[in-house]
């Protein structure tokens, strides 16, 4: 019910007196009216901007923040007002919702900021009024697409899972030629051969002078038949090999076969094989000649190489309804005008308009303003109809075209924007990382200033703050103290990255566990790569500054934690076997070797046994696995 209508409830109740005399049963007692308190004004202070409204206005929607007792959490006694540290511009719209019952979306606001404010105040976005709902949904969809794009591109570009099979590497190379040099070479070679093949098809038909015995011109294809045949064979072989490789590498073969590009590939190389198989039968060779037409489809293979072509194809697909409408309206107009022309020209002698279908050609030529002139009307009526036809033709064709153009423009700009965003993101991240690296080793610097001993903690805190003077010294001090506590808990220390790398190399060279050669050989490089990758994983809540410094030790910390929790998980049957072989080693050498060895036990089985409660447990197990590899 709209908010304003709620104000009419007293009226509706009063009007119920009209039912009383005809009531067949006694009335129920009314509910106790305990909102006897006066309807007072409420002062809402949003980041300094003051809003006032009646208490009743806010309480119209008791399931939102402002309408329920939740607002009491924001009551500020000293000034006797409700203080919210949020955006006052957006709050204006939220308050208007309470007043008028309609939520509007301001066009100039950022959609995510608006969504956040709505979520904070407990208002569901679905109640946005019809006037603004479409705009809101469009913007939201755009934002989602952008986020999706970013995620996709991130997954594609950043993720280099080290355990990709050869097949997956190949597929990746096919899809993104920029990933490796081989892929790039392959990409350009296929592009070159597509071009060569298409050019050959074209040049084949050019007249090439006469042979000795004939008068007629022969085409180059007939004159140099062997050369063209060899060229064609080479191209088709390359295409076939490429197609087979793609087929082999595709993660889902059935989907790949169904895709458009694969169909084009097949259609491009089929005529050659059919030609090989077919004999020189007279009847069939006619059909065979027709098949050679399909060789021109090789040119569509370029769409893998050109983003513009893909965009064009995508646009046409997305404008299918407009194109359909264009076609339909044109057909209607053609039929109408052809009929009228036919009957108009029926009287004139030697008229070319012998039937209505014959008049179709005239109508099409006229409507598209071609005007070949092979069919012209001779009667006056015919000429009038012809002029009307050409005028309306221009209109009918011009109408759907802007829609298609705008679609194309939108998609093109979207793809441009995606590319631009990716480029900008790289530089943006680079700049942010550069600024952050100044502060990453804050804790280590704090330590190296020799300020960690408990005895001089108080005295040094002041000195430490002077040394490490940041904008938020209190926060940093507490943070550093926290990290110190963690070190003391685990009896290990944080170190910086160089120290970690050197120790890693030492360990990998010193110890070669015989039953896992692959681990050690790749451990150094892979360890580093995984560590750096771990930094980028968003699911981690540990701050970056920690991890760069404390990799080596944090792994051991985690492995020790892992060890300590083992007794709890011992009861799970599948882990028992792994337990025995790992526990003794872990206890003796709490360093890298432990981490290396625990790994043959893939904790993948743990998800089946662990409930959700133990997820932190096995996520730590996951961490161990990842880091040691």
């Amino acid at each position: 019910m709209a908010a304003g209508v709620a104000a009419w409830l007293p009226f509706a109740r009063a009007a119920a007196i009209g039912w009383m005399p005809v009531a067949s049963a006694p009335m129920p007692t009314p509910p106790p009216d305990n909102r006897r308190k006066q309807d007072g004004l409420i002062l809402l202070n949003v980041s300094g901007q003051k809003f006032q409204t009646w208490r009743n206005t806010l309480e119209r929607y008791p399931d939102t923040l402002l309408g329920s007792t939740e607002r009491e959490f924001f009551f500020h006694e000293e000034t006797n007002e409700y203080f919210f540290d949020r955006d006052p511009d957006i709050f204006r719209h939220i308050l208007n919702f309470y007043r008028t019952g309609k939520l509007h979306y301001p066009r100039q606001e950022c959609i995510s900021a608006y969504d956040e404010e709505l979520a904070f105040f407990g208002i569901i976005p679905e109640i946005i009024g019809d006037c603004c709902y479409e705009e809101y949904k469009d913007r939201r969809r755009e934002n989602q697409e952008r986020i999706q794009d970013d995620e996709d591109s991130e997954n594609q570009n950043d993720m280099v899972p080290p355990d990709m099979t050869f097949r997956e590497t190949m597929w990746r190379a096919f899809e993104n030629p920029h990933t490796s040099t081989m892929a790039l070479v392959f990409y350009y070679v296929t592009g070159f051969f597509i071009a060569v093949s298409v050019m050959a098809n074209v040049v084949e038909t050019v007249p090439c002078g006469t042979l000795q015995n004939r008068v007629k011109q022969v085409s180059c294809g007939e004159r140099y038949a062997l050369a063209f045949f060899c060229l064609d064979t080479a191209c088709v072989m390359i295409f076939t090999v490429e197609y087979l490789l793609r087929l082999m590498a595709a993660p889902s073969r059935w989907n790949f076969i169904k895709s458009v590009m694969s169909v084009i590939d097949v259609v491009a190389i089929m005529p050659y094989y059919i030609g090989l198989v077919m004999t020189d039968n007279e009847d069939v060779s006619g059909a065979f000649v027709t098949l050679r037409v399909f060789r021109v489809f090789r040119i569509f293979k370029f769409s893998r190489h050109s983003a513009g072509l893909r965009i064009l194809g995508y646009t046409l697909k997305s404008c299918a309804s407009e194109l359909g409408f264009l076609l339909f309206s044109l057909t209607m107009a053609i039929i109408i005008f052809a009929t009228v022309m036919f009957y108009a020209e029926k009287g004139s002698s030697a008229s070319k308009f012998t039937s209505i279908p014959a008049a179709f050609w005239y109508t099409i030529v006229t409507m598209t303003t071609l005007g070949y002139g092979d069919m012209v009307p001779k009667t006056i009526v015919g000429k009038i109809v012809g002029s009307v036809c050409s005028l309306s033709g221009v209109l009918v064709i011009a109408l759907p075209v802007p829609v298609i153009v705008s679609n194309f423009s939108r998609i093109y700009h979207q793809s441009q924007r995606a590319d631009k965003r990716r480029a900008q993101k790289k530089t943006k991240l680079g700049r942010i990382a550069a600024r952050k690296s100044g502060g990453t080793s804050a804790y280590l610097q704090y330590k190296s200033n020799g300020l960690l001993s408990d005895l001089i903690d108080e005295a040094s805190k002041a000195a430490g703050q002077a040394l490490v003077c940041k904008a938020n010294p209190m926060f940093d001090t507490h943070h550093n103290h926290l990290l110190h506590c963690l070190e003391k808990t685990t009896n290990h220390e944080f170190v910086d990255e160089q120290t970690f790398e050197t120790s890693l190399l030492e360990v990998s060279m010193a110890k070669h566990p015989p039953h896992s050669p692959s681990l050690s050989s790749g451990s150094s490089s892979q360890g580093l790569s995984c560590c750096s990758r771990r930094n980028k994983r968003k699911s981690f809540n540990v701050p970056n500054s920690n991890m760069t410094g404390g990799h080596r030790n944090s792994i051991q910390e985690l492995s020790t934690i892992h060890i300590r929790e083992r007794p709890i998980t011992n009861s799970r049957s599948s882990l028992n076997a792994k337990f025995e072989e790992t526990v003794p080693l872990n206890c003796k050498q709490p360093y890298i070797t432990a981490a290396v060895i625990t790994l043959p036990t893939p904790p993948v089985t743990t998800p089946e046994n662990d409930g959700s409660a133990s997820s932190p447990d096995y996520s730590q197990a996951n961490i161990v696995r990842v880091s040691a590899l």
Binding site: M1, A2, G4, V5, A7, W8, L9, P10, F11, A12, R13, A14, A15, A16, I17, G18, W19, M20, P21, V22, A23, S24, P26, M27, T29, P30, D33, Q38, D39, V340, Y343, A344, K346, G347, T379, V381, I384, V385
Partner: protein, 233 residues
């Protein structure tokens, strides 16, 4: 041969006539020529019949509400009807929102007529507040008077069976279809019969105001229910 000539001529003539008519129609459509003189633009709706109510003091004198109550009432009224008056359609829409299961439009129509005391087709704030004053702060006599006025559709001083049947049907319509026990078609009629048996003392087929008030005052239930909505504001 003449036939052929006439046929072609005839075809041509038909074609020309059709073309001329079509082009005239097209021009008319495009707004270049006007056939009739009533091509005035769409009349804009009578915008914003502005109505300002009487001053607060007059209303205080006319009704039994105090200043604060009048302020609250006016704010709610103006919020829903910024132009200051309610016409019947808006009234029906507002009232129907309270009874979503059934069709409250008929009863709202009768209610509107009961509130619209000066019969000008719209309920202004004064009408609204005076009606409410009677309903919420009036004496039992006044309330019964108001109810009689509601039932007496043609305001002739008598409630006939047909009028009562209309009212009863309107009330039952508000219930909608999904009731327990199921509404039968003659339930309103039966209810009217019961009502007339109770109210119509001299059995002349109509209920006058005196019969009505007498009967209601003797009925405990009705008297009690009249006091029900005293503290709505």
């Amino acid at each position: 041969m003449l036939n052929v000539l006439w046929e072609t001529e005839g075809l041509q003539a038909v074609g020309i006539v059709v073309l001329v008519c079509a082009s005239l129609k097209l021009l008319h459509l495009l707004g270049l020529i006007n056939f009739s003189e009533d091509s005035v633009e769409d009349e804009l709706e009578l915008s914003a019949v502005r109505h300002r109510p009487e001053g607060l003091e007059q209303l205080e004198a006319l009704t039994r509400f105090n200043r604060k109550e009048l302020q609250i009432l006016y704010r709610g009224f103006k919020n829903e009807c910024p132009s200051g008056v309610v016409n019947e359609d808006t009234f029906k829409v507002i009232y129907s929102q309270f009874f979503p299961q059934g069709d409250a439009s008929m009863y709202a129509h009768f209610l509107f007529n009961a509130f619209d005391t000066d019969k000008d087709g719209s309920v202004s704030f004064e009408d609204f507040v005076m009606g409410l004053s009677i309903l919420l702060r009036g004496s039992v006599q006044e309330k019964l008077n108001w109810a009689f006025n509601l039932y007496d559709i043609n305001k002739d001083g008598y409630i006939t069976k047909e009028e009562m049947l209309d009212i009863m049907k309107a009330i039952y319509d508000m219930m909608g279809k999904c009731t327990y026990p199921l509404l039968k078609d003659d339930t309103p009629r039966q209810h009217v019969e019961i009502f007339f048996q109770k109210m119509d003392k001299n059995k002349d087929g109509v209920v006058t105001i005196d019969e009505f008030i007498d009967c209601c005052q003797n009925d405990e239930n009705i008297m009690r229910s009249m006091q029900l909505f005293e503290n709505v504001i």
